[in-house]
Subunit: 243 residues, 2 copies
């Protein structure tokens, strides 16, 4: 199966959660937004789906995935769809529901990271909402960030199949997403993470191990991997990274 991933071409963003799953599995996929417009790809191809020109089930926003005739939108929905196909989630229904619930917590976590630089919404640039961002970031760093990270630390400690993964004994798409979250947070909030990580040994170890998985290591070293930058979810604004 050739998968088509539709996502903005210049940021890791939310699309990166999907890229990591496809890359770790060695799946055959096209990163549509980054392919030439001359071949019918690029941002114009994304817009044809959002406009409803190419489908009568238009997604509200990227990322979305095309798999044959199926269109699947939202990160957690895409990963739930790919999970069994890429063997990145256990078979039992209880485990799949648990994995999807965890992924939805990562969705919420991601939105809160984004809101630290856009507390007044997506309609203004960061530079137009810096004061509100500074106030939100202080609260995020003090309360929300530790709460989310300690939750995942606690789950790793409690996994009956071992501390290496969030569920079961093998790597799941949720582990890959937690890796992306940690990598993004280290980019956006380096001082804060340096302070918090000693209290999160299992989360930190999980991230190291994911980075060393052969397909992930090859991907991270490739040109397919986009660098974090100040247009995505994880942005490094030193003024927000305060204790």
């Amino acid at each position: 199966m050739l998968y088509e991933l539709y996502y903005w071409p210049t940021i890791p963003g939310r699309g990166e959660f999907v890229r990591l799953a496809l890359e770790d599995a060695g799946a055959d996929y096209i990163d549509v937004g980054r392919e030439p417009a001359a071949d019918g790809w690029g941002v114009a191809a994304i817009m044809r789906y959002l406009d409803g020109e190419a489908t009568d089930r238009p997604p509200f926003a990227p990322p979305f995935l095309k798999a044959g005739d199926l269109i699947v939108s939202h990160v957690a929905n895409i990963l739930q769809f790919l999970g069994p196909r890429l063997e990145q989630v256990p078979e039992h229904e209880a485990a799949r529901l648990w994995a999807h619930g965890l992924q939805l917590t990562i969705t919420d976590f991601t939105a809160e990271v984004h809101d630290t630089h856009h507390p007044l919404g997506p309609g203004l640039y960061y530079e137009e909402q810096k004061e509100a961002a500074a106030r939100r970031a202080v609260l995020f760093i003090r309360d929300r960030l530790p709460k989310f990270l300690q939750y995942f630390e606690r789950l790793l400690a409690a996994n009956p199949a071992g501390n290496a993964h969030l569920l079961g004994k093998d790597c799941s798409y949720v582990d890959l997403s937690l890796f992306h979250m940690l990598t993004g947070l280290r980019y956006a909030y380096p001082k804060t993470m340096q302070r918090l990580e000693p209290k999160l040994p299992r989360v930190a170890t999980l991230a190291e191990r994911i980075a060393q998985r052969p397909n992930i290591a090859a991907y991270l070293a490739s040109e397919r991997r986009l660098a974090f930058n100040e247009n995505g979810v994880f942005r490094h604004y030193p003024e927000l990274d305060q204790p």
Copy 2:
């Protein structure tokens, strides 16, 4: 099957999306948070799951649903789980993925409604972030609210099975959730909605029809239905409801 819904007892909030699905189907359920602590229910019962005392798969936050031994967290995950069991979603995989994607768009929409009164996050009271809220609400009303609502209006117009529902020819859990969204928005932003609704005839008609479904009408008239108030997602602050 007796379902146990775990959610805060004093607000419609996000739990209401689940309550409406259970009520419309006439399902047998316990609204755990509202049952007596003396019987082992109430908020203490919710906390035992969040603390990890009652489960080794603790949810991050309510709502969550218990169905036999299964625990399902996050509104969209719960509705996806209940959908086939309550016959509130079509059978085909493509339709189920589409329904879940729409529900996740409603999740994002709900978060943005909440952020209008809490732009700096959940750690401060509204009264402590009124200025930022006023700025965010202006942008929400101008850009985001019409964008979300027109998206659903467009989907209703494009449904090949008719304008009465978002997908297929029957009422789905997504229709019930859109009803809750519209009801909540009318409570929170009455002036704004009065201005917008003439341009949203299909969304408005859907909400009228859902309210008239026998089980929903009976529920809305019952004591089980909690009134909107200023502790939930949909809050009426007249100062935010400005053109």
